[in-house]
Each structure stands twice: as C-alpha cells, then as structure tokens.
C-alpha cells in the first residue's frame, strides 16, 4: 500500500502485526488495541517504534494516557460510508492530546480526504498506483470553515470576531505541526 | 427454468429518463421495444449484458421487472412500472403547471 503524507507519496516503514504473530525487535509495528493493552510494556521495551491500529467500533478513549507513548495510530474506514473514524480522530487529537502520526486506512475517497485532515489525520494509505493529484486538489477545494475541528485552521467565527478568537485559543490543544504543515 | 416474463430497465445517466433493454442490446425509451425474457437464464444473461451500458456511462442501475404477456402485447404488472413506462406522472395538474395569464 502507498502512503500519502506531507503532500506526496512516502515510503511506508510500518507493518501491522496480528495478535498471534511474532514481533521482531527492531521494526516499527502497529498492533491491535487488545494486544497493546495486554503487551504494551513489552512492546515499548523494544528499541523500535510502536503504534496501535484501532478498529472503528473500539473506544479511542480506551488508549488514555498511552497515546503519548505511541508514534502511530491507525484508524479505519472499512467502507467509505462508515464515518466513525472521523470521531475517533477528533477524540484522539482533542481529548487525549495525541501528537503522533494519525493515519487513515481502508477505503478513502479523495472527496473525504479534506474532512480527514480537518479531523487531525496526517497520512492516508492508498492502493498502490493510485494517482494522488486528485487528493491534493481536494485539499484546496475549500478555503473557509464554519466549525472548529482538530486541524488548527481558523474558523469563520474566529475571523469574524478576532478579539474572541485570541481569548478562546488558550484552551483547546492545537494539533501537531505535521498536520498543520501538510494541510497548508 | 421458466419464470414470469421479465424485462430489463434502467435510467439514463444524463437525464434520469426511463429506458428499456432491447434484443439488439440497445436502449429504448419505449416500453414496447423492450425485450421480454421468459426464463431465468436468459433474463440473467440480459441483465449481465446491460452492465456494458453502465460501464459506458449510458445508464444507471439496470434491473429486471415482471411483465405480463397479453393479446395486446407485453404490459408491466406493477403500478410502479406502469407509471415508469409512461415517463410522466399520472395526473394532469389543475394548477401545478398553470401558466395562464394573471387577471387584474
């Protein structure tokens, strides 16, 4: 699978490992939530990056403080009509303050890509050979946003009332630099 | 295997108009041009063949529907398909498409 991140196709060094499969000492791997909860300490003890692949019916909140120990969280869009992972993304970014890479996997239409980045997604997995110019063009289709999301883009309300905007920003955590850079 | 007689219909992609699959593998707006299939295999084959027009972006959503073969030719058996075959609603609106002069 190809990886779209920072406006270009990137090499994907990560591998998802099933619950019963062996994990080597030195490759970056993602595991299921269940495996993370059972073996988190051991996996962190390796000299390699660790991540979690969330199923879209699992509770993102279940990761809790652990999000700060993860370099990658993968969220899933099994069918493009199933939008649960948009909420998982926002919970990870806004509620848990996750600052690592957030990756969308599954079926991802270019017409959803912008919404995913607004919800805090950094990277998306695409089928090999899929052209990315449509995805990149999709990010430019809108230049104004009514509602706050998890991407740090200023909202229409903030632009209409700048004085209020500065006061409010103190509260909510802004997202990682990687998201802000890639959505510019 | 014999089944009730069936025909393949779809909607045209460009304007949503009702069209029927003919034995020449073309599409006609006229119900009377639609090919009638009297057994399951040929009906399924016809439905499969109609997928070409989907790929060619001519039609959307082809499906099979039941017709009755009468002395006056085939007729749709359901109210829905009878209305589709007419290409318009069943009523003449007294006021819906009124375009007369507005007095005083």
């Amino acid at each position: 699978m190809a990886l779209l991140q920072h406006g270009a196709l990137q090499p994907n060094s990560w591998r998802f490992v099933g619950d019963d499969a062996a994990i080597s000492a030195d490759e970056p791997v993602t595991v299921s939530l269940k495996r993370w909860q059972a073996e988190g300490e051991i996996l962190r003890g390796r000299n390699a990056l660790i991540g979690v692949r969330l199923k879209n019916d699992e509770q993102a909140l279940a990761l809790g403080e652990d999000v700060h120990r993860l370099a990658l969280i993968e969220i899933e869009f099994p069918k493009f009509t199933d939008g649960r992972a948009f909420s998982q993304a926002r919970i990870l970014r806004d509620k848990l303050g996750y600052k690592g890479e957030l990756r969308a996997i599954g079926t991802i239409l270019r017409d959803q890509y912008l919404y995913m980045t607004r919800c805090g997604v950094d990277s998306v997995e695409l089928p090999d050979g899929k052209p990315i110019d449509g995805y990149l063009a999709a990010l430019k289709e809108f230049s104004a946003w009514y509602q706050p999301a998890s991407d740090g883009r200023p909202t229409v309300m903030e632009l209409r009332h700048p004085a209020n905007a500065n006061a409010r920003r103190g509260g909510a955590p802004l997202v990682t630099a990687s998201v802000a850079a890639h959505s510019a | 295997m014999a089944t009730a007689p069936q025909m393949v219909t779809a909607n045209r992609l460009s304007d949503g108009a009702v069209v029927y699959f003919t034995s020449a593998k073309s599409w006609s707006e006229n119900f009377t041009d639609g090919a009638v299939w009297t057994d399951k295999e040929s009906a399924d084959t016809a439905l499969h063949a109609s997928e070409e027009a989907v790929k060619a972006r001519l039609v959307i959503g082809p499906y099979l529907f039941e017709v009755a073969v009468t002395d006056a030719g085939p007729k749709p058996t359901s109210a829905r398909e009878r209305i589709r075959a007419d290409h318009k609603p069943t009523f003449e609106p007294d006021q819906g498409s009124w375009t007369g002069p507005i007095a005083g």
Binding site: Y146, V156, L159 | G96, S97
Partner: protein
Amino acid sequence: MYRYDEFDATIVQERVEQFRGQVARRLAGELTEDQFRPLRLKNGLYLQLHAYMLRIAVPYGLLSSKQMRKLGYIARRYDRGFGHFTTRQNIQFNWPQLGDIPDILQHLAEVEMHAIQTSGNCIRNVTSDQFAGAAADEIEDPRIWAEIVRQWSTFHPEFSYLPRKFKIAVTGAPDDRAAVRVHDIGIRIVKNEAGEVGFEVWVGGGLGRTPVIGVVCRKFLPKEHLLSYLEAILRTYNLLGRRDNIYKARIKILVQATGGDKFAAMVEEEWEKIKDGPLHLPQAEIDRIHRYFAPPAYETLADIDPAFESAKLENPDFARWARTNLVKHKVPGYAIVNVSLKPEGGAPGDASADQMDLLADLADEFSLNELRVTHHQNIVYPNVRKRDLFALWQRLKAAKLATSNLGFISDIIACPGLDYCNLANARSISVAQRLSRHFSDPRKLDEIGELRLNISGCINACGHHHVGHIGILGVDKQGQEFYQVTLGGSSKDDAALGKIVGAAFSEDDIVPAIDTIIETYLANRADHGERFLDYYRRVGMDPFKEALYGPATARRPAAE
C-alpha cells in the same frame, strides 16, 4: 433575514465548483455510480422514477422575493415550469438534467441559495416555525438559532458520514409549529424559573418505519452552549448509531435501545469535556446573527383597519379567506397571511413558474420582500398590513392562490408518491386530488372544522402521515396500490402517532372510506366545537371501525 458575508458566499461558491468537478469526473468515468451517489445526495440530487430530482434548501423556510424569483427562473429554464414545496420547508424540482446541475447551483449561489446537505447521511436543512418573528405567542425568534446551527452543520468534517440522515428543528413559541418532538434533535426555546431564555433539547423523535416521539435530553441549556451540546449528541450518534441495517440506523433507535436517561447521561459526559472549548458561542456572534433578524420597520397602525373591515362586509369570499387564512400578528395593524398551495384538484405544494414570479412580486409589494415555506407545503407572507389584504387577496385569487382552506381537510399534506418517487408503493397526489375535489365545498369544510390530513406514498412517511389527524399510507399488495388509514396523530405539543384503523383500502375505496370516517364524526360529535381529533380521543377507534368494516362480531380480523 440573514445575508451572506464573504465567508458564507465563498463556502457556497466553492461547493458549486467542487460539485462541478464531481459531475465531470462521473461523466468521464472516474467515479462509479456507487461512489458518486453519496456525493450527489449531499448536493440534493436524487434519482427518481422518471428523472433526477433536485432538492434545494430553504433554510428554516425563509425566502426573499429575489430568491423566489430565481426559483421561478430555474423552473422555467431547467425544468418543466413548476416546483414542489416539501414538508421540510424545501423546494424540489423533478426534471433537471445531470449536466445542468452545476449551472443551477451557480444560479442559486447568486441569490445566496444552495442544495447543500438536503440529502445524504449528514445533517439536513434545519427547519423552524413558519411564523417566526411575527407570531404573537413567540418567546424568541427561533431563526437566529436555526441559522447558527445551519452554519455549524455545513460541511462538518466529523459528521458528514453519519449512520443515517439527521434532521434538526427549532421552535420559539409554546405552540410548536415545527414538530420538534418528531425530529432527530428538536430545540424548544423556553424560559427557566429565573426568567432566562434557553433551550429544552429533545432527541430521538422521528417518523418513517418506526415512528417515535422524542425524549427530553436536557431540560434547560444556556444559549451559549447550543453548539457544543449538539456536537456532543452528534458525536455520540456517529460512534454508536447502528451501521448494520439502514432501517435501524437513525438516532431514535439508539435512544430507544440505550434508554432516554442513559443516553442523556452519555451526552452530558461528552459535553462536559467540550463545553468550554471553541464551540462556546461568543456573544458577539449571537448578536451579529440577531441583527439580521431584527424586526422590520413596522408602521404604527391601529389594529382595526376600516378598509379591511368594509371589504369583508362587501365580499363574502374575501371575508371567508380572511377568517380561514390569516393569523394574528404581534404588531397592531398587520396580519400573517397563509397562501394555500392546495387548490381544488391540485397537486399539494406545487407552484408554477408564473405563480412563483407572482408570489415574488406580491412579496415586494405587500410583505416587505419576504416569504416563508411551511411544513404543510403552503406559503406565508409574514408581514402584511391589514389595509393591503383585500388587494393582495384579489391578486392571489386571479392566480388560483387564494383557496380558503388553511388547516381544513382539503389542506392536504402529501408527498410526491409513486407518480415521482422511487421509494413509493402508491400514488399520493391522485388521492389528494380526488379528496380535495370531494371536499371542495367551503360549507362542508367549515362543517368539518380543523382537520389535518396527511398522505405518504410509503413507510418513509415524507408526508408525515403518522402525525395527521387522519393519515393515509400507501402500501403495496402484489404490485397494486392500497391505502392504510391511521387516526389520531398530532405534531404539536400534544404530539401523538396515529393508529391504524384496519385493513387497507383499494384505490377505488379510499375516498369513500375517508368520507365514511368524516360522516361518522359529523353524525356523532358532541357539538360543532368538538374537533375531529378531540372526538377521536374521546370515543376511540370503535365507531370508525364499525362504520368502515361492519359490526365487530361480523368482522374478519384486519389483514394488513
């Protein structure tokens, strides 16, 4: 009314360009129909029986004369010369071509209109009270909040792929004219004991296959928390709503399965985490939107207008229309005018392009450039001076727009039904036409009194038959059209769902059946003051069953 600023205009314009690109990609084969369908639905484009159908949003039912004129232009240029006003205050065109849709959307954008999110599994048009801002019984204008919710819900990145559609309604008066109790979220403006104005939030109401009255999720919500609270509800629904079965995917199913109290507690827990974040509404924005809905410059007039009074004395038809179609305005000397789109034999809610032009002109001349679309598929002029009423009536009458039947049995609410709709089991317009002809005599209408009759062509209930005093539901029996009758529904504060009276009626029998129901009521009601709904609530189903199907002992079990 609200006017777009540069941001609103940019967003709508960018959407037009985006959809233009999506249509081009569809026609070029880069998108399959399965991929294109959710995209076109989110721009209001359905595939129906004979053609595409475009549903255009009329936010909370409010239209300027300029916008109405543009709708007439679109009807004429891109359609077959008419449009259909719906039970959610929108307008539908039945014959547009796919390639023309981007141009139609461009025309709409020029008058601050769009077809955004009028279909699809997203938050739909926010509806409200058609008399908002003018009604005498209003606590506060609900349109301010409907506009705030509209903006928040437009292209919400998290809530654009919900389990199913999501409908929100706002009402500002104790008399609920927006049917909030049968919406996914219903917002009632209320005053608490301290006299502060805030919201009572209802959740999980809905009609369709499993009709249900909603539950109160929060008794009092301070205004500044409206958006954060809605976000909490939507997030809970997005995560937990069922995705395995489209007939069980609405929030009403989730609320019923979870239990109202538990659901409210879950929402509260989510809300606690986000209520002081960026969704907290700044007073500056509330004030900004408020200003757009400031009352127009009403003249100071006496409440009794001699010209109006003498016109009624001289013209009995006008007097009747004044009695049936006018509503008390909060400002002396003014009236709220209901324009009936239910003429005898007409298709309920339809208006021709010429009629739309006329309605626009009359709005300019008599109603401060403003019109409303109602849930009952009629039009409202909210601000007409009493002294202008006779002149207005004469112009309406010449265009078949002055039927004196507001709230009577011939003021039928009907979905497009099998004449247009892919989902329908039976035709609804033809039944409506026959009923309106049968009940055309004004004296008969007066005799029957207030009666809400709703017709839906299928169980999706777009005609809201569940909340009709009499409801008619089209059902399919072996490919033929049959009609099931329900009695006793109501969409107002006494919200109730109608009950099925018995076996369904054929196309030939449905009008006589309704006639029998009406005659049963007329013959047995306590007096003229006892409305049909009250009579039904007093006596129940039995007198009607007996009249329709014969005595209980001789009756076969109802085969629905």
